[in-house]
Symmetry: C2
Subunit: 371 residues, 2 copies
Amino acid sequence: MASDHEYLSLRISADELTRWIDQMFTAIGVPQADGQIVAHVLVEADLCGKHTHGVSRLPLYVERIERGLMMAEAAVEYETSGTAVIQRMNGGNGLGPVVAWKATEHVIAEAKRYGMAAVAVHHSNHCGAMSVYCSYAAAHGMILLALTNSPPGIAPVGGREAFLGTNPIAWGFPRGKESPPLVIDLATSVVARGNIIEAARRHEPIPLGWALDQKGNPTTDAQMALAGAVLPMAGIKGYALALSVEILSGVLSGAGVGPGVKNPYTDFSGPSNVGHFFLAIDPAAIATEGVFEDHLLAMEADLREVPPAVGGPVVIPGDRSEATRDDYLQRGIPLDPSLVEQLNGVAERLGVGHVPVWEDLAHSPHELSPS
Amino acid sequence: MASDHEYLSLRISADELTRWIDQMFTAIGVPQADGQIVAHVLVEADLCGKHTHGVSRLPLYVERIERGLMMAEAAVEYETSGTAVIQRMNGGNGLGPVVAWKATEHVIAEAKRYGMAAVAVHHSNHCGAMSVYCSYAAAHGMILLALTNSPPGIAPVGGREAFLGTNPIAWGFPRGKESPPLVIDLATSVVARGNIIEAARRHEPIPLGWALDQKGNPTTDAQMALAGAVLPMAGIKGYALALSVEILSGVLSGAGVGPGVKNPYTDFSGPSNVGHFFLAIDPAAIATEGVFEDHLLAMEADLREVPPAVGGPVVIPGDRSEATRDDYLQRGIPLDPSLVEQLNGVAERLGVGHVPVWEDLAHSPHELSPS
């Protein structure tokens, strides 16, 4: 029986997963238009292989709404008396993807008028993969910078407890109508916490330099790392970048900062108060339309011509995500059986049908690991 | 004799160094106001211990002007028909610090009107330490993002030849009238090329992970690394960030990109065509005046309370630069004797007096190493 196979994978089409997520959020009182946004944001992450930011987050979102810690209807509000070039937005403690999507649409529209626009958001929640907003904006011809803070994840240089989040930096750049946008999206931690959780589950060591134990000593023990703190990427450089993300997303917007951002998985004492920062730039505001995109494609072609090193050829950020997306659109998105079980449990509680998956064999167990 | 001492250091006061640099540029036809900007930018870098971006660059700047590869008078020009929120600037192949300073003053003024403003600059040159512009803008209450591309310095992931520059990312954040600005400034290379040059000079090995040899293999041989390429920080993450800097500074502005940026030390075939990107945000546009600064100081105080790890306590980016600045303002800026000799040679050619240094003993040879 395939279900006994260690590497059993269940697959689902992107369209069917989108519809199912939509039904789930409708069932807990989320307006249909908002549920569609959340479904799109989660499915796009899964499609790019970022399963830690995909439908695996749905149980968390549902639980926070059911507990009254997150609003089913996000009433976002602009609070600034100044110009529309930069605004502060109150996310109204809505679903993170809905708040972030509205902020993205806002900066796209204002950047079309002014050439550039930004919004700093407070009282939001976990909003999924920042790359999704970057792809969307860039597909509309806009350069987008998307930042968010997150609950304490990394230790400051010289400290042994997590304070700053794993604060990602994401940029989207348009490459014209013929090519998908160029998107970069990176956590400022040396590694996603998911990789340490996975190593602990497999009783495997982690590389030195990933994390500290509770006493602040470098460790290769995944369990001790989980009790300690993840390190920033590139030492003080990554720490400095994580700090800049915290300042723009948290301090500037007036959202939670450091431990002021509540961990949605473990802290049920109130709203997370996550902060975001979105900045859109219209390249057509300062270059003849299409010139930016053409020059970007030309640079990329030149980069691919650089002679290969050991382990080459040259990669362009997004190469792997795009290949994964094409593959999953054809073969379906793989879902871990234990996740499907969890999702079905939530569905039963809400009176929604099971996730419409089919059985498949994964190429390797790593295909199911968090990215 | 002190001059025979291996660790002899020569020192100079910041004010005297500023005046001397000013005289040098006046001697080659640079307008006095512009010479004062260059002097300020170089001396500020030396004051923070960034000697690779200080007066050590003067001989290069002078040579490029003398050869007609850089203009003594920078006629910068705004070329955009759009709004003043985002502009493209032609740097007129002027002295990098002058062009960058004018761009910074421009975005500060426009951000005061609109809440936020940016300028993408082409046909500029090496402009020194980006942290200087960030400090200046933040001292005027502005958040500043300062980016520049540079001649090929780092290999793309999977490639064995340098293509992107060591493309720094710098942010300045105001901390109110009582505190110096919070400034971060980091090259997206794993290490400054100066450290490899220094290791080669001392016949010492370099750590694995810093560089590739000409064949694209990781190397610990400093000489082979100099013939090969430096690696980006944090692997593909640093590469992605270097790429975003190249796109904003080079592609968006229409400046040189990748090998299109000429190395000012080795390529005398024409202007460098360096590109910059400056973005200013006025925190007072979306928060009550002073609130941003207060919250930033509060976060910093909380960060310093994080229990220390081995090697602690917690550092805040800029701690070391600020301590160095205070020290050098009191004791004078240390200058390497070989640099002073080189500077005096240029001074004699231009009919300017020698650099007014005094003799001192460095605490250690490392005090003179590139940062």
